[in-house]
Amino acid sequence: MKLWLAHLYPKLMNIYGDRGNIITLRRRCEARGIEFEVTELEIGDKFVPEAYDMAFMGGAQDVEQRRVAEDFRAIKGEPLREAVEAGFVFLAVCGGYQLAGNYYRGADGEEMAGAGILDLHTVHPGPQAKRFIGNVVADWNGTTLVGFENHGGRTYLGAGARPLARIVTGNGNNGDGWEGAVYRNTFGTYLHGALLPKNPRFADHLIALALGRRYDVVTLDPLDDKVEDAAHAEALRLSTRRSIMPFGGRR
């Protein structure tokens, strides 16, 4: 068996560890004897959905995000939207999550059209507004997702998308208690960490969805997840920790 993944804009949308998501998908496939091939698609490259089982798009700084927005909307967005309607597996993190929505209104009030894959929009309340920065724990599918968020934009879901997870600690989409969005087999989230390494059940969920579409395989062999589970548990434990550096800290 083999899965093909399209990594969208890895050179531009790669801020803070998003590569860990690709590394994790590869490791968890290969450990089960599933081949895993990644194709990197940059600005100008065409996206042909039939060639892939899943796509990943990471986060970026505002400057890079603006460069990507136009290409994503005009070149890759349309075929990706059609594929998503048909159940294509797509994971979008942070900036990628924002661009997958209908639009992003920046801190300067300027609006950037999104690809309209997820029914949501994002508004940056202005340069003086507090960024949502910190560790996040959210309830998902009977278990938890752990990660780190760092975003200025507030994301609001429309009727066509439902939240991915319920916030336990952290801010999530806009402070309303929810994190991320789901539509069919497409997942948007603010969680870095990277997300997939220490959320192995979520990683396997994506792999199972992709395998199910191509090979009708729905169950995955269990892996030795001692280290993954320990990292997840440590993140849960530390999420209740308070700041311990009253003096001498650098913030």
Binding site: Y16, G134, G193, E228
Partner: protein, 464 residues
């Protein structure tokens, strides 16, 4: 009167803080001085007879500052410096308070020069207070995005600060870092650039940890004739609107020897040939940054040479301890670009070694540990004799190293001293152990190792 109160309070706090080992007595006393007299930095800095220099940038601040201190000392000046890497305003305040008499006068003011390492985001505030003669910019990489927001935010902060500098301030800029070199556009005073001409040190492709791959002017993807590390190299924009400036202070040849680096450097005031007791490409840049600042301050080439040659490694950045017949090296690893340089340096030795990876996520480290996924730990495969993981986020590091192919079950030990001891015990006599810590983990590891090696705690290492 308030001045005196501030200095007295800061000095007392420093003494007490050191006595009770509450963190090296560096930042806390400065904080007290600032609280009592906010003008203390401005006032005391104005008494520095030879002015002051600031060193900022993502990586290399501490080592460059130490090299530069040594350079200006070789020129006969007395330095006032925040030497322990306490690089916010309060660290500068503490250094100035400590160099002052009880009644708020600076000692030996005529020959005194301030050499201050400053945090990237705090640089404008410190520059406004101390009115430096020169500001050195080492490089700009992703680091602590939880604190700074974005890399571009830092570049913007620098550009705004530079546009407000008085025309007498010299900028010393890394020609090989596109976003740093481009700061020359907004300079109102003299600019001196430094860079590496010797392309024999070039790595292959641009690494994942690169950030400034795009032309700061037009946004086109930059082309490279040579990449040294990260996005540092011989760059040009394909639209020809921007390119690496020909550096005034240039390393024309760099050779690695057992003793360190043999460098040949061209400067506007003459050639420098120096044996530097440090290794790694990033230390070539640290030496060039210090040399460029020396040139900007009018230091003679012979004094720059002497200063560089006699400088020790900045604490923890590259330091070795002899313990129980084993050599333990500590190399700071706090962001992707710096960690990659540390990894490339330690695998260059060729011998298998024990590795201790220490990952903390305290505020001074950056709360977000995602960056470990941008580090090329995969390069360590085949070089490790043992692998020990520790720190607040030890399991995250264990997971990263597992996925780097370095072992399914890394040895996790949350107690730093026990982790270090276990790695040292497992090394053969005469063998090496490398410790890669984040910032706060480095302070702790350095303290423990220093005690074991009989050297004393880190704030005593300078012989103060």
């Amino acid at each position: 009167m308030r001045r005196t109160a501030a200095v007295v309070a800061a000095r007392t706090a420093a003494g007490l803080s050191r006595r009770f080992r509450a963190g090296g007595g560096t930042a806390f006393p400065g904080l007290i001085a600032e609280r009592i007299d906010p003008g203390i930095v401005r006032d005391l800095a104005s008494k520095l007879g030879a002015g002051s220099v600031l060193v900022t940038g993502t990586n290399g601040k501490t080592t460059t500052t130490r090299l530069l201190r040594s350079v200006v000392q070789a020129a006969g000046l007395r330095t006032v410096a925040n030497r322990e890497g306490s690089n916010m305003m309060r660290g500068v305040a503490a250094a100035l308070a400590e160099a002052s008499t009880w009644d708020g006068r600076l000692r030996q003011a005529r020959k005194a020069i301030g050499v201050f390492e400053v945090d990237e985001a705090t640089m404008p505030l410190v520059a406004d207070a101390v009115r430096p003669r020169a500001v050195v910019f080492t490089n700009l990489f992703r680091d602590q995005l939880d604190r700074y927001g974005e890399v571009e935010t830092v570049a913007g902060v620098w550009r705004r600060a530079i546009s407000g500098f008085p025309p007498g301030v010299t900028l010393a800029l890394n020609a090989d870092d596109p976003s740093v070199a481009s700061l020359r556009e907004g300079a109102r005073g003299p600019v001196i650039t430094f860079g590496l001409d010797d392309t024999s040190l070039a790595a292959g492709e641009i690494e994942h940890a690169a950030d400034a791959r795009w032309c700061p002017k037009c946004g086109a993807e930059l082309e490279y004739d040579a990449v040294f590390y990260g996005h540092i190299g011989h760059w040009r924009c394909p639209t020809k609107d921007n390119a690496r400036p020909n550096p005034e202070v240039a390393c024309t040849s760099a050779a690695t020897t057992d003793a360190g680096l043999d460098l040949a450097v061209r400067t506007p005031s003459g050639a420098i040939d120096v044996r530097l007791p440090l290794t790694g490409t990033y230390n070539v840049y640290n030496a060039l940054a210090a040399a460029a600042a020396g040139v900007a301050l009018g230091v003679e080439p012979a004094a720059i040479e002497r200063g560089l040659a006699s400088a020790g490694a900045a604490f923890g950045r590259q330091e070795r301890f002899e313990i129980d017949g084993r050599t333990v090296h500590v190399l700071l690893a706090k962001n992707p670009a710096g960690a990659n340089q540390s990894i490339r340096t330690i695998i260059a030795s060729g011998e298998p070694f024990g590795l201790v990876a220490l990952l903390n996520d305290n505020i001074a480290d950056g709360r977000d540990i995602s960056w470990i996924w941008d580090v090329d730990f995969e390069l360590l495969a085949g070089h490790l004799r043992s692998l020990t993981v520790s720190g607040v986020r030890a399991w995250d590091m264990a997971l990263r190293l597992k996925y780097a192919g370095l072992g399914e079950r890394p040895d996790v030990e949350h107690d730093t001293a026990r982790a270090l001891r276990s790695a040292i015990r497992r090394a053969p006599a005469g063998g090496s152990v490398y410790v890669l810590p984040t910032y706060t983990a480095m302070l702790e590891a350095r303290n423990i190792l220093g005690r074991w090696a009989g050297r004393g705690a880190f704030w005593e290492a300078d012989g103060r």
